[in-house]
Every structure is written in structure tokens, then in C-alpha cells.
Amino acid sequence: METDPRVYVLGEDILDPYGGAFKVTRGLSTKFPDRVLTTPISEAGIVGVSSGMALRGLRPVAEIMFGDFVTLIADQVVNHAAKFRWMYNDSVRVPLVVRAPMGGRRGYGPTHSQSLEKMFLGVPGLKVLAPNTLGDPGGLLEAAIADDDPVLFVEHKLLYTRPLLAAGQGDLADFALETGGGPVPYFVLRPAYPASLTIATYGYNFELARQAALELMMEHEIFAELVVFSQLSPFDLEPLFASLARTLRHGSGQARRLLTVEEGGLTLGWGAEVAARAAERSDDLSRCSVRRVAARDLPIANSPRLEDAILPSVQDIVNAALELSNA
């Protein structure tokens, strides 16, 4: 906002001193009082207004207080913002960012804990991005704002308080970190020994996946590569295919072993598309074994005991990896 006067922020309860339900915008309205607009409780309205601003040369960032409410903005995203550029034969640009805090494990119950990004994957004209603890979330947000097309920016609530990881240190000490993709990076974590399995994930769930990978390494001598995406849609899975090609050589049963991890519901999720594309890429369809770890297809319960049982856990990932390895 300092360097680009076209950037505006719109959302509910984002003014200081409150600074947003998750305090993500705290301080902004004091610094940029004219460009931080607190709105009525009107999610579709906020996103519609933002896409009109974007069509006319501004770069708005719209905040949805809880990602669960993206159902209310679906028409504005799918039938308006994401369509305009193509539908108008490339004559317009819609540089709009919608930030949506998703995810559970905070006991917020069925309507404030979901990861609904899967509903927006594959929408033509829309990018879906999600930061993680490997990259620079601020840089990713800047890339989203600089993008000429609409971006749904998915932030897992638990990431707000998580420290960023440093390559080669702490939990990453046992992995070599490769990255690529420029301002929207992917990350590949490669263990010191040849891996027999690839784990694909994004966002907060990378935290669970890397804990599971360590456990598999320490307790089961199973080595996994992790491929972590910042861009969920459109799907660009080349780094994953490269990893699968490597892990194939070291797997015992001559099968590619792919494990996907996400927090959204299992059915028709991100992992389903990843698995389908991996299978299509494999020369021999029978040689791609897949397990998907995701939330059960249930609403997310309030009680911690139930919530834990519904959302994917480190143990679920370990179990799925063991199953794959023994298959």
C-alpha cells in the first residue's frame, strides 16, 4: 500500500483498534485511512464492489472474515470477476484479491472451521493461492496483488501464529529444500536417502505432513519427498511429476506412490484432481498408487474430540503412507 496508491483494503471490522477478526489488518487503517474501508456485513457486496474497482484500474484486496462465507461470494467470483477478462475478449483486467481465512482446529464449529477452497478450484480465470511456512506469505500476497487476474488467497487460521521455517534448520534439518516458481513458489523437500513416496500438500497441512514424514523416517525407515504448492489452481503439477519420477526408481513394487494431504473434505477435493493428473501422466496407469488424506465428508464438529476425528491428523498421514508402502 505504501508503494502503490491503487491498493485498497475492504472488509468487515478491519479498522483500528480492532484491526480485523484475526488482527491481520491491524495498523493499516491508521496508516492509510482513505484506503482501508470497513464494510457492512455484505460478503457478495464487498467482492462485487471490489471487482468493479478492479475493472476501473484499482487493486482492491477484499477480506472475508471467515473463509466459510465464500459460499456467499461464489456468484461474484464465478459469474463476474473471474469471467470478465475472457468473456470480454481480453479487453479488461480484474486485479482483485479475496483473502479468506480457512481451516479448523480452533473449536469454531461447523460454520467457522471449513476449508472450502476446493469449490473454487478449476474456475476459469481464477487463481487460488495458499501460503505456507516455507515461503514468504507477504511476498505471496504481493504477488497476488500484482496479478492482473482475480486471486482467491486462502489463509489457514493456524498459520497466523506459526513461525516460518528456515531451510536446513530444526525440523527441516533432515531435508534438502528445493524451490522454484518465482513469486508463486513451490517447494520440494528431499530426504537424505532416496525416497520411495511423494507427499503432495499445501498450506497449513504441510505442517502435519512434515511431522508425518519425520515420523516415517525415524520410526519406519520410510523416506518421503514432500512437494508443497502455493498455487492450487490452475493446476501446475510439474514439480510433483518430477518427484514421482524420482520416487518411482526407489519404490520396491515399481509403482509411483502418491499421497495427497489437505484439510478440505475428501470427495472431489484438491487431492482428487492431483491424483487424476498424476495417473494421466503415468505411462502405465496401473503403476500409480494413491492415497488421499483429507477431512471426513462431514460438517466439522465443535467438540475438540470430534473435530480431531473429522480433520486429518499426523497419524492419518503416517497410516496412509504405511499402507501405500506395503501395497
Partner: protein, 296 residues
């Protein structure tokens, strides 16, 4: 030529364009659907005779009349409707989804209103002096996001003019079955002033639009131009449950007839000839244009 002549010509252009279009549909040379503006021409002609050249316009499914009165090229519109590469948006949008200069349209009821509200906000912050106009019909009063937008536009004092064209029907549903309470009252609830006219006279529309636009352009916040009008043709192509008696009765409110009384027969004859040439040229050229290819 006189202003009255120009207004007549604009309305006649819309009328003849839409008639030609419906005729092309019935011969099977066009596919998809269309929503004719026949009967409502005074609205667009009156408004665009006083709107600013750089004002931003968001129109709806019934957009051809708005586009032609805005100054759009009938040939590019015809080409778009025929799915040609030379169409306004290269055949990607068709009848309800066009874009040219500061004119935009989309076929989703209500959803365009917050977008136009954001455009008004952008023009305000850029201090261009332009305002945003958005067109809705009576049936669109049923969409919730409209009220989110009215609230925001009023709270933020945005230069937005909502043009509500009440043609008494939403597809087949009469307003008695679709709109409770008062139309104007819906805007009044947000403190948005309404210029309301029951008229088929383009000069009435023009006067009301002029006042409404002046208000919005002064920086006083949004306004609504509420026009009660009549649609003579079917909602789209064949869907018209109205009785022959009703259709005959509303023909007395023909904006062309009303306004023709102000012109000589030589003038109306000249307008017919000029418009016939324009329409013929538009459709003939468009029909000879190539179809677009999908880039891989």
C-alpha cells in the same frame, strides 16, 4: 438536424435493430437467445442523450437498446450476436455479455449492481467526475445483493445512478406476483432519492434523467431513476403469456408514435431511410464475417 430528430433516430435504430434480430432468429440464422428492448426505447434514448460521454455503464441482459443509445456500433453488435470474430467481444459473450469503451453488460440479475457500485467508487477516488449507471428490471428487485449495494453506495456517498426499468414483468411473472410493497420505497429506505416517471415520452425521460444525473454528479450520493414502461415483444423469443388484448392495449404507449408527433413526415421518412441503410449494412457485413477460432 434537431435534437428531436436525433432522439427519434436513436429510438428508431433500436426498434429496427431488434426487429431485424427477431426476424433473423425466426429464419434460424442466429442461435441462443435475445431480449428485445422494443417498447422501452424512450428509456435508453432519453438517458444517453444527457449522460456524460465518459460515464461508466453496466447494463443487463436487455442491453442492446442501452448499447445502441450509448453510441455503440450496430455492426459490431450484430457480428457479436452472430458469433463472428469481428463481434464486440469476438463472439465470446453474445447478446448479454458485451463490452466496449466504458460500456459493460452481464446476464446475471442483480450481480452487476455491486460491480457498478465499485466502479462508482473507483471513479470517485480517481476524481474523474464520471459516474456509474447500472440498469436493472423490476424482477431484479428480488435479488439480495442489490440491497447490499444500495446500502454501500449510500453509506459511501458514491456517484451511482440506478436505472430501474419497470416493464411490469420479469420474464412471465407480473410485478403483482414478484414485487411486494413500493419500488421507490426500497430506495427511500436507504436515503436514496428517486426520480419516478410513468411515461412513454422520451422528453420526459430525458428531463428526469437530467435531474437525477445532476444530483449524482454533484457528489450528493446515489440516485435512482425509476421508469415505468412497457415491453411490446416477448421476454426473449417466444415466452409471452400476455393476452392479445393486453398486447394491443399497451401499444398506445409507443414511444416512437409519441415522439413522431413532434416531427414532420418528411423527417420521420428520412429517419426510416437512414436507419434502414444502417441496419442493412450492419447485418449484411456481419453475416459475411468469419467465425472465431479457439486459441489452443
Amino acid at each position: 438536424m434537431t435534437e428531436n430528430y436525433d432522439l427519434y433516430k436513436t429510438m428508431l435504430l433500436i426498434r429496427r435493430f431488434e426487429e431485424r434480430l427477431l426476424a433473423e432468429f425466426s429464419t434460424g440464422s442466429l442461435v441462443g437467445t435475445t431480449h428485445a428492448y422494443i417498447g422501452q426505447e424512450a428509456g435508453a434514448a432519453g438517458i444517453f442523450s444527457v449522460a456524460g460521454a465518459d460515464d461508466v455503464v453496466f447494463s443487463n441482459h436487455r442491453c442492446h437498446g442501452h448499447f445502441l443509445a450509448y453510441g455503440g456500433d450496430p455492426y459490431r453488435l450484430a457480428a457479436e450476436l452472430m458469433g463472428r470474430a469481428t463481434g464486440l467481444v469476438g463472439g465470446r459473450g453474445g447478446s448479454q455479455h458485451i463490452q466496449w469503451r466504458n460500456f459493460y453488460s452481464n446476464g446475471i440479475q442483480g450481480g452487476i449492481v455491486p460491480v457498478a457500485t465499485g466502479m462508482a467508487l473507483a471513479e470517485k477516488t480517481k476524481q474523474t467526475g464520471n459516474l456509474a449507471l447500472v440498469f436493472i428490471g423490476d424482477g431484479t428487485l428480488g435479488e439480495g445483493v442489490l440491497y447490499e449495494s444500495l446500502n454501500i453506495a449510500a453509506l459511501w456517498t458514491l456517484p451511482l445512478l440506478i436505472v430501474l426499468e419497470d416493464n411490469r414483468y420479469a420474464q412471465t411473472t407480473p410485478t403483482e406476483k414478484g414485487v411486494a410493497g413500493s419500488m421507490a420505497g426500497r430506495f427511500a429506505a436507504f436515503g436514496i432519492p428517486v426520480w419516478e416517471r410513468e411515461t412513454a415520452d422520451v422528453l420526459d425521460v430525458r428531463a428526469a434523467a437530467g435531474e437525477a444525473l445532476r444530483h449524482v454528479r454533484s457528489g450528493a450520493g446515489p440516485g435512482c431513476l425509476l421508469l415505468h414502461t412497457h415491453r411490446f415483444s416477448a421476454h426473449s423469443k417466444g415466452d409471452d403469456p400476455r393476452s392479445p388484448e393486453e398486447l394491443a392495449r399497451i401499444r398506445q404507449f409507443d414511444p416512437l408514435t409519441v415522439h413522431a408527433a413532434r416531427l414532420s413526415s418528411a423527417e420521420t421518412g428520412q429517419a426510416e431511410a437512414e436507419i434502414a441503410a444502417v441496419i442493412n449494412d450492419a447485418f449484411t457485413r456481419a453475416a459475411a464475417d468469419p467465425f472465431p477460432e479457439l486459441e489452443r
